[in-house]
Symmetry: none
Subunit: 220 residues, 2 copies
DNA sequence: CTCCTTCTTAAGCCCAGGTTAAGCCCTCGA
DNA sequence: TCGAGGGCTTAACCTGGGCTTAAGAAGGAG
């Protein structure tokens, strides 16, 4: 059951949305100001946000900046293209102008949630390695181990781009999303640990270093 | 470099889109009918599709059904909510009605592409030699090797200026950016190593020495 | 034939990369 | 509130690849 948060100070629209979404089978959360939204997100983790731009307290744009990992659909009375572009480039996944058709909103919500579903439930596999994106466990044959966040981020990036060289800077960028200020020296250790786990499981060294550039999965 | 396919029978709009997208740094593909689109997708795998609904041959809706794993943004003159809903529920990730603002389209394209963490490598090619600017690997036919930083810098300079003589001093300048204090004596060794690698891959000696001046790629 | 440029090979040095161990920080549970 | 454990980072040490230097071989110019 998916949870959708409604952030809008207009009670009439908010109530209407809540009723429609409930009828559609979603759980709902409400917030009536930007600051309240932030507080709510500290305690709850909805699957999607419906965000109005003109809010008391923090503006919708400011709320958007603080959000990560949750898709945000902005619903606003602002029809100007520049507003749309700015919001979309700052992290929103979609933008609807008021007034809007409820059916269209529901469809666009479904688009975002179905995309998430695919990413969420998937198991990434390469050769005989299988990586669970949910539990962060790897399986090789009938052996298995758990990976740390960073190790997972590294291996995931490598497995999504099989037999492609990933530069150290690219790796650092993606890793830094989760653990900021990751230095190159740390990366070495993480690589070492990850290699050790893979070696313990499979007996082979899957990760090949490309000198002066980065790493890739060995194709042989 | 992301590849975007434009599927629209309206030549005027298609040309306009192609120009805008190219200017933005995307590569583009074109198809003018539903059937042509299917054929194109058998040979190419773009990162995103811009799809018109009213197409000769197969309709846009029918094309959409056959597509998986590639995000599709539908661009159509149909403004009816039911059309939008149907398309979005059948796999499209976004829907724009004509006429639309180009900036908004670009923003919505960016939204779809920013999630894909796929790392794409740029490749410089000359004759049957292909050189990856990311991984510093060279491919000749189905053979491949890795080049060191300096070897890469040399070959890159030669391949960017094909069949043109590069003086030793020019080479030294460019190489020194990466490894300072590179002397002419070192350059000779690097040239030697580079030639050996090319020879091992292709059997030919691609690099021609111009006596007293420098080097160039052999045109023959 | 001789000189000079260029090519190749071999040896040593330097620095990127790998490994291990120790310390810090955060989270969780008693 | 405090201790335990896991994860991240830092530092030290070791290995090995790449760069440079030097010396000898090869090949063109005069």
């Amino acid at each position: 059951m998916n949870i959708i948060a409604i952030i809008d100070d207009d009670v009439y629209i908010g109530d209407m949305l809540e009723e429609v979404l409930r009828k559609e089978g979603y759980q709902t959360l409400r917030a009536y100001s930007g600051t309240e939204a932030i507080l709510m997100l500290e305690k709850n983790t909805p699957d999607l946000l419906l965000l109005d731009l003109m809010l008391p307290g923090l503006s919708g744009e400011q709320v958007l900046e603080k959000i990560q990992d949750i898709p945000v659909i902005v619903i606003s009375a602002k029809v100007d293209v520049q507003d749309k572009v700015q919001v979309l480039m700052n992290g929103a996944v979609d933008y609807l102008t008021k007034p809007f058709a409820v059916e269209e909103l529901l469809a666009r919500i479904a688009v975002q949630l179905r995309k998430r579903e695919v990413v969420k439930s998937d198991i990434i596999s390469w050769k005989e390695i299988r990586l669970s994106t949910v539990s962060h466990e790897i399986f090789v044959g009938d052996h298995e181990t758990h990976l740390t966040r960073t190790e997972y981020a590294i291996l995931r990036l490598l497995m999504i781009n099989p037999e492609q060289v990933i530069t150290k800077s690219t790796l650092l960028e993606h890793i830094s999303e989760e653990t900021p200020d990751c230095m190159e020296s740390s990366l070495k250790v993480h690589m070492s640990n990850l290699r050790k786990k893979l070696r313990d499981l499979s007996g082979k060294d899957y990760i090949e270093t490309v000198w002066g550039i980065g790493f890739k999965l060995r194709d042989e």
